[in-house]
């Protein structure tokens, strides 16, 4: 993807950098073409820069205890990856893997800091982005720790939609990206509970199921149940 002619409206670099800085990014970034299930970075590695998913899908995982790895975030086209590494230590506390074939732009720490310092709109966006991530992270922890299965599944569905958007915007077909088993783990419910709640949502008219595909029928009700807006 060429930054000078990119049309991705979710990419903060594209949206908030001035044209001369887009040109600079195009010249200095490195592009990775990764296959499905490929590691992007691992917990414990030094932070070399920030990643933008030009296309594809990725999952971000945190090792809670030994042998217990939890998905904490899903990211889709145009979204930032690896920002959790920006701290005093500059070491990734999390790992990221692709969920399908992905094109990923890697921008070095030095260049990213330069972009943030020179592009005011990007600096504001990044500040607000981190603020939202902080809020979302604490909200996720609270929802997965205390809420009912219904709320957890609704919240997970909204996170999936916000990360991957709809597979088809007109029909509002959910683009799961992950297997239902993995989604159930993400939602911190058992697979059978996840399937039961999905079936209940279909029965209640929140979702429509057609040949193994799920469509959102009532965005407002789903969003209300999840406590998070569908963006």
């Amino acid at each position: 993807m060429n930054c000078n002619s990119c049309t991705n409206k979710r990419c903060p670099i594209n949206m908030y950098c001035l044209p001369n800085w887009l040109e600079y990014t195009q010249k200095t970034k490195s592009t990775l073409y990764l296959t499905k299930n490929h590691s992007i970075f691992k917990a414990g590695e030094l932070v070399r820069g920030i990643y933008i998913l030009c296309s594809g899908k990725a999952k971000v995982m945190m090792e809670k205890e030994k042998c217990n790895v939890e998905i904490i975030r899903l990211a889709g086209s145009g979204q930032v990856l690896g920002h959790r590494g920006f701290s005093e230590k500059m070491v990734y506390p999390i790992s990221a893997k692709t969920l399908n074939e992905s094109e990923i732009a890697s921008i070095s720490n030095e260049d990213f800091f330069k972009l943030v310092r020179e592009n005011k709109d990007l600096a504001i966006y990044m500040m607000m982005f981190f603020a939202d991530e902080l809020l979302m992270s604490e909200q996720t922890f609270q929802i997965y720790g205390t809420q009912t299965s219904r709320a957890k599944v609704a919240y997970t569905l909204v996170l999936v939609i916000n990360a991957f958007r709809y597979a088809d915007h007109n029909t509002k077909q959910i683009d799961f990206g992950l297997s239902l088993h993995e989604l159930a783990t993400f939602a911190k419910v058992s697979y059978s509970a996840f399937s039961r709640v999905l079936a209940k949502f279909v029965e209640e008219g929140l979702l429509v199921k057609k040949t193994w595909k799920y469509y959102v029928a009532d965005e407002a009700a789903l969003s209300n149940l999840a406590g998070v807006e569908i963006k």
Partner: protein
Amino acid sequence: MKRKCETCTHYKCFINKYCSPEWKPLISFHKTSMLYPAGATIFSAGDPIKGIFQIYSGKIKVVTIDGGKEQIIRLAKEEQLLGHRGIGKKMIYPVTAIALEDSEVTFIPVDVFYSAVKANSEFAFHMMLFYADELNAAERRMKLTAGLKAKEKVIVALMTIIRAFGFSSTDTTLLKYTPTRKDIASLAGTTYETMIRALSSLEKSNIIVQEGKAIRVLDLAYLEKHCSLD
């Protein structure tokens, strides 16, 4: 009481450190300062966000209250920001801030804060890094609450207090500020009784000494080594 940003000597304050000299009088003009006695609430979860707070003096705890149970998620002191959680899309405080001792807190209206961030790229840049650190700290804390034993949780709480407020300048092993035992339990995420037992156990092993309300640390290296926060 209104102090001027342009003559302030709090050099760690983000406004002082990262805003240009032209911006400081403007912020001084718009800001308001308030004195909060110990125990007073500065803002409550659910309140709409109207601005950001800067602590001029004193100590503050930031808590979440879930089902009547208080959990301390941050300790803050002078020169630090307050009320940044929730700035974003919803603009509603997700947390409550309570003064631990008499504190003077400055309030900057949100539109002035945004304008300052927009006009001062270094301010924006360091606010981004500040949020990044807060995100990391929050996730480390959340990761911890699941798997730790009570004693480990209390060690984490003690290290959090040491990192937030440090040691007394005249007595270098005595905590500069010891929160109440109830607050230490809220910080550790344990019951009061469990925390008391853990403190006694640390005292028996000569790691700490309880001197009335105050706590003296005899073996900081042990606490650092066993603090799973790192």
